[in-house]
């Protein structure tokens, strides 16, 4: 499927970006993408991405990884009595992707009650996933009772403070942030001064053309403050990343997919592999949402992310477990 701007009869007169991807063309490609939601960060990537997907392997200028989130191992109430089964389904989905992802990001709430056996079970299930590298950030459910000692013992190696860190893959700089500790009464997620100072230093030497991916549990944008769905000092973090041409922010916590684009920053939240939560304001509280059993897997999901280097572009596909 190609989008050739000279021959594109569907091109709107006001093709603002001049990239040949007009609204109708975009919708055509969304239909092709299938059950998932497909978002472009910047025009021009669509052609290369389609080719990449059709090929058996990933072109060398592509970086492909998967985001999963909110596995809540240990949860067993009505909304999903078997979170192990749905996590296994997520792993099967990941293993069936046409382009094998190079690694996985888990954006937190790995466990439900921070119990050792819950962490162990997630590790066991994820061992069956083809991508062997998994990068975690904690959710508030992973830091209960022991100020995060369980979490840090398992996933804290090489991290600072409450577990923040960064790493590089194929020229893309990944930053794992922790916004679920030292929460204040009546407040939202928080990063804190120490972590922000670390972030400033971490990106200081990077070229403006370096693609950045930030991942953290609670959304780093104001999704719905009344339910605590936001981070009180995220604006400070984002201003430290202002110089970069391409920033993707991947979060979890809200158990539904949501996307926002603001200038050079794309914000995306992933579905949970355990249970869904209501849309903002659609219920009294953000608790587990019970749906008919046959519908559950269609509201849980994984996120497949592809970077096409040189285009500063990002393709994000959310797929349900159904």
């Amino acid at each position: 499927m190609f989008h050739d701007s000279e021959k594109d009869e569907d091109a709107l007169p006001s093709d603002q970006h001049g990239d040949g991807v007009d609204r109708r063309g975009f919708l055509k490609c969304m239909a092709w993408a299938g059950t998932g939601a497909f978002f472009l960060m910047e025009g021009g990537v669509l052609k290369s991405y389609a080719l990449g997907r059709a090929a058996a392997g990933a072109p060398s200028n592509e970086l492909s990884f998967v985001q999963i989130s909110d596995s809540h191992m240990g949860f067993n109430k009505a909304a999903n009595p078997d979170v192990i089964a749905t996590l296994k389904t997520a792993v099967d989905k990941i293993n069936a992707l046409a382009t094998p992802p190079e690694f996985m990001l888990h954006t937190g709430d790995i466990t439900h009650l921070s119990k050792p056996e819950e962490f162990d079970t997630v590790d066991q299930v994820l061992r069956d996933a083809r991508p062997k590298d998994v990068f975690f950030v904690p959710g508030e459910h992973d830091m209960l009772d022991d100020d995060g000692r369980q979490y840090l013992e398992r996933y804290g190696k090489g991290t600072k403070g409450a577990g923040w860190y960064s790493f590089d893959r194929k020229g893309v700089h990944f930053i794992g942030l922790v916004n679920v500790v030292n929460l204040k009464a009546g407040g939202l997620g928080t990063l804190g001064a120490e972590q922000l100072a670390w972030l400033r230093d971490d990106v200081a030497h990077l070229k403006h053309s370096t693609p950045i991916v930030v991942f953290a549990h609670i959304p780093l944008w104001s999704v719905y403050p009344q339910w605590g769905w936001g981070t009180d000092d995220s604006a400070q973090a984002l201003s430290l990343l202002k110089k970069f041409g391409s920033v993707a922010v991947l979060n979890g916590h809200i158990h539904q997919t949501m996307q926002k684009v603001e200038g050079h920053v794309t914000f995306h939240t992933a579905a949970s592999t355990a249970f869904p939560q209501p849309k903002p304001g659609a219920a009294d509280s953000p608790g587990p949402m019970k749906v008919p059993a046959e519908q559950l897997k269609s509201i849980l999901g994984i996120t497949d992310v592809t970077f096409v280097r040189g285009k500063h572009a990002l393709g994000i596909i959310d797929s349900s477990l159904a």
Binding site: E140, A185, D284, S285
Partner: protein, 116 residues
């Protein structure tokens, strides 16, 4: 039975009946809160959000929600372990004052205990 014993029996029965009818509690005003108040946690809310008690009262929080919560005083006077559904936490307030608290997992959930 001899007559005087019948009278004694009748009088004791009467006094038992009388004391039963009147009740054996002192005639004091009933306390304005129960002596062991309970705060129910449900739907991401502490109910009631404000509790007023005299010094020495024990408050018990019960989690009736389908998600875990905690009870943490902002001045660190008390802090529960994580409470799953049906778990309880109790604290005895031995000093007067205002005790604002929140759920450390869902910090938007807040409540207060006022001890007089």
């Amino acid at each position: 039975m001899p007559r005087h014993l019948w009278i004694a029996l009748a009088m004791s029965l009467t006094s038992i009946v009388l004391s039963g009818a009147v009740g054996d509690q002192p005639h004091a005003a009933a306390p304005s809160v129960p002596l062991a108040p309970e705060v129910a946690i449900d739907n991401f809310t502490f109910g009631p959000t404000e509790v007023k008690i005299p010094v020495g009262t024990t408050v018990t929080w019960v989690n009736r929600d389908d998600i875990p919560h905690t009870v943490v005083n902002t001045d660190k006077a008390f802090k529960s372990k994580v409470l799953d559904t049906d778990d309880k936490f109790s604290f005895t307030f031995t000093r007067a004052g205002k005790y604002p608290y929140f759920c450390s997992i869902h910090p938007k959930m807040t409540g207060t205990v006022i001890v007089e």
